[in-house]
């Protein structure tokens, strides 16, 4: 290792101890804060403006903010992993499982592209969004989600690096083709499994 900055650690990021060996993916550090990383301007979407549409299934389905809140919600406690090497343990979210939403879309093809306000997009196979692995969340640690963290509603797919959980989610485009999203087109991995360190496109 080269030059070490004394005192840069501990406070914000630290290497997990051996007791967390099975819980923190390789190459990750524990974060105490919640860093904000963005590829564009923070989107300020009001709950009145917000809606979510699933296109590409046999039925097109759309929910407003009120529709979403009327659906049965789950409390989720999960670890999140950012490709920039921080991991945050035991984050608490409230939201609706994608299973519930996709059930309204009829028969669906194999791949999904999450589309956000502001033009962000990220892709995953639909099978990664079903089976209790993904949610549309609208509360973080008991509070409405701040705009810089993707509120009012963002995707949460904690089994993948966090760029696979789109902030300011607006639509889900389903198709038979796996189309790359923003970072996938810019050199990041199509699948993004933190346990296999799938960071860059050919990792």
């Amino acid at each position: 290792m080269g030059v070490v900055s004394r005192g840069f650690s501990g406070k914000h990021f630290h290497r997990p101890g051996p007791e967390l060996a099975g819980r923190v993916p390789p190459g990750q550090y524990l974060a105490s804060g919640f860093p904000v990383l963005t590829a564009g301007a923070t989107q300020h979407v009001s709950t009145g403006q917000w809606s979510f549409t699933i296109r590409g299934g046999t039925t097109e389905a759309r929910w407003t903010w009120d529709d979403l809140l009327a659906l049965p919600a789950e409390e989720i406690t999960t670890d999140i992993h950012c490709v920039t090497r921080w991991t945050k343990l035991d984050t608490h979210w409230t939201g609706v499982p994608l299973d519930t939403l996709l059930a309204a879309a009829g028969e669906v093809p194999e791949f999904a592209l999450q589309i956000s306000h502001g033009g962000y997009a990220t892709n995953l196979p639909v099978s990664e969004l079903t089976g209790g692995k993904a949610w549309l969340v609208y509360r973080y640690e008991g509070e409405p989600i701040a705009a810089e963290h993707g509120g009012p509603v963002r995707m949460l797919v904690p089994a993948h690096y966090l760029w696979k959980s789109a902030k300011w989610i607006r639509e889900l485009w389903l198709s038979a083709e796996d189309r790359p999203g923003f970072w996938e087109q810019s050199g990041y991995h199509h699948f993004g499994d933190p346990w296999r360190e799938q960071r860059y496109f050919n990792d």
């Binding site: 590829a39 564009g40 920039t84 810089e148 970072w183 810019s186 050199g187």
Partner: protein
């Protein structure tokens, strides 16, 4: 407005091109705005550096710094004119 860390893409750009290109002039493929790369709006550097058109926010260029390589795209540039110091 939230104040962020001061940002500049000059480092990643210099790394990619091997010389300063903040004076290089680009044309936005979306809206046609023409101007030096030094005038673009930069986000990043993590997970990657994103240069956007100051007029229409179109993504002009992305640069991702992996430990062993640079990954670069220029999806929104119709043209990039890089001065070489020669005379015309």
């Amino acid at each position: 407005m939230t104040e962020l860390d001061a940002n500049s893409a000059a480092g990643p750009l210099t790394l990619l091109f091997g010389r300063d290109v903040t004076l290089a002039v680009g044309i936005c493929a979306m809206c046609g705005t023409t101007g030096p790369l030094g005038e673009t709006v930069m986000y990043g550097p993590a997970p990657g550096t994103v240069l956007r058109c100051p007029q229409c926010s179109n993504v002009l260029m992305t640069i991702v710094e992996a430990p062993d390589r640079l990954l670069a795209t220029m999806p929104g540039l119709r043209l990039l004119s890089v001065p070489t110091g020669g005379t015309s």
